[in-house]
């Protein structure tokens, strides 16, 4: 397979797919470990939505690549350097506040990204986005409510969520720093200009932070590279677990 030399549209679809799959896999790690049953179920529901969305994108990418390429090839048989997800998606779950801070930044970005993709010049992306935005608005509502609950909670929950939000802010900055793939997508009008999404994102994020009695977001110096395939150490471990079965038994079906 030649996914490192694919055309700009396929690369862009893979970038979208990788975000959804990697974050979906991270959230799935909470299965059976949530603080209470309802929250365990909520995170795995979101995980399921994201993995379903990843499948939509991978199926499309596989069609664009042709030559018998399948969604499974793309999810299970690429190495870390071929993945183009944002670094924030692969960061470890940490404690509950860490997971929710990561999710809050991502969901809010994801909502505005899908809103833009619903206007894409590419019909298939428009259709996928129009469907996914309905699910994503529930995710965004859920994570925002948790930020408010933790920020406006006890002294300890406030301090912890403030620390988690500070930790992930430079990772969130990567959303708005265009990669080559983002630039090509914006030029051909099948994806948004990512820098254009930052003002809506900051406005929404800060409105929630204010309700949560937390300081406005300071994005700081961007931690970036994920969209160009340069990942943190965590990425390899995540793939090793996620891909092990498909790689050990390449013809396995389930």
């Amino acid at each position: 397979m030649k996914w490192d030399t694919c055309d700009p549209k396929t690369a862009y679809v893979l970038h979208l797919a990788d975000d959804a799959l990697i974050l979906g896999q991270r959230l799935a790690e909470w299965c059976g470990h949530g603080p209470i049953l309802e929250q365990d179920i909520a995170l795995t529901n979101i995980s399921l939505d994201l993995i379903g969305l990843a499948r939509q994108y991978y199926q499309y990418a596989a069609e664009l690549m042709g030559e018998g390429c399948t969604e499974n090839d793309l999810a299970y048989h690429r190495d870390s350097r071929a993945f183009m997800n944002h670094l924030i998606c692969e960061q470890p779950n940490g404690h509950w506040g860490d997971t929710l801070a990561r999710q809050f930044y991502f969901d809010t970005f994801h909502f505005f990204q899908l809103e833009a993709l619903a206007q894409s010049s590419d019909e298939r992306l428009r259709h996928i986005a129009a469907k996914a935005i309905k699910e994503t608005s529930y995710h965004a509502q859920y994570s925002a409510e948790w930020i408010i609950r933790l920020g406006d909670g006890t002294e300890e929950s406030h301090a912890k969520i403030a620390q988690s939000l500070r930790h992930f802010a430079p990772f969130a900055h990567e959303f708005f720093v265009a990669s080559e793939v983002d630039r090509a997508a914006a030029e051909a009008d099948f994806g948004p200009k990512v820098s254009d999404l930052s003002s809506s994102w900051e406005e929404k994020v800060n409105a929630i932070l204010q309700l949560a009695t937390l300081d406005p977001v300071d994005l700081g110096f961007p931690k970036k590279g994920g969209k160009a395939g340069l990942h943190s150490e965590h990425h390899g471990y995540l793939l090793a677990e996620m891909q092990s079965l498909a790689r050990a038994y390449p013809d396995a079906s389930w």
Binding site: I41, A42, G52, A130, K131
Partner: protein, 159 residues
């Protein structure tokens, strides 16, 4: 050629595995039925992108139409499925089963942090209910609790 009405009648007995009182017709999942040569084609809208019940639903549709001929299923996401397509009869069956049906129209649901609706308890019909969790036993449901009879119950999200 088989009469389309006969095919629709057969599909009325194809139940959703997660909500066994609703058929694929009640849910508005079947978008089109057409016949080309000896094949029956059915366009099916997925509810949620990652809904694990979709594969089972596709299989059940094929089995139920077997007496009429071979069926080809097409998963169509445009326009995206909405609870607005659920039939009124379906909503009544849902409430009788103990799941509160979706409140209002989904058409204006594309806004972030929309206020949550007044959901009626399917058991005692009280409207004094609280949202416990946005995500319930399946992707399509939220978890509520009634303040009057204390019963926890599922609410089929307006989507």
């Amino acid at each position: 050629m088989v009469d389309n009405e006969a095919l629709e009648r057969a599909l009325e007995s194809v139940m959703d595995p997660e909500v066994p009182v609703l058929s694929v017709m009640d849910l508005g999942l079947v978008r089109a039925i057409y016949q080309v040569k000896e094949f029956i084609h059915v366009d099916v809208a997925p509810t949620y992108t990652g809904c694990p019940a979709m594969d089972v639903i596709h299989e059940r549709i094929k089995v139920s139409l077997e007496p009429f001929g071979e069926t080809i299923i097409h998963s169509v996401i445009d326009p995206p499925w909405t609870t607005d397509w659920m039939t009124e009869a379906g909503k009544k069956k849902l409430e009788a089963f103990g799941i509160a049906p979706p409140v209002g129209k989904a058409s204006d649901k594309r806004t972030l942090w929309a206020p949550s609706p007044n959901v009626r308890c399917p058991r005692c019909k009280s409207e004094r209910t609280d949202l416990v969790s946005l995500f319930g036993s399946t992707a399509c449901k939220s978890l509520y609790q009634c303040q009057d009879c204390n019963e926890p119950f599922d609410y089929f999200k307006c989507f």
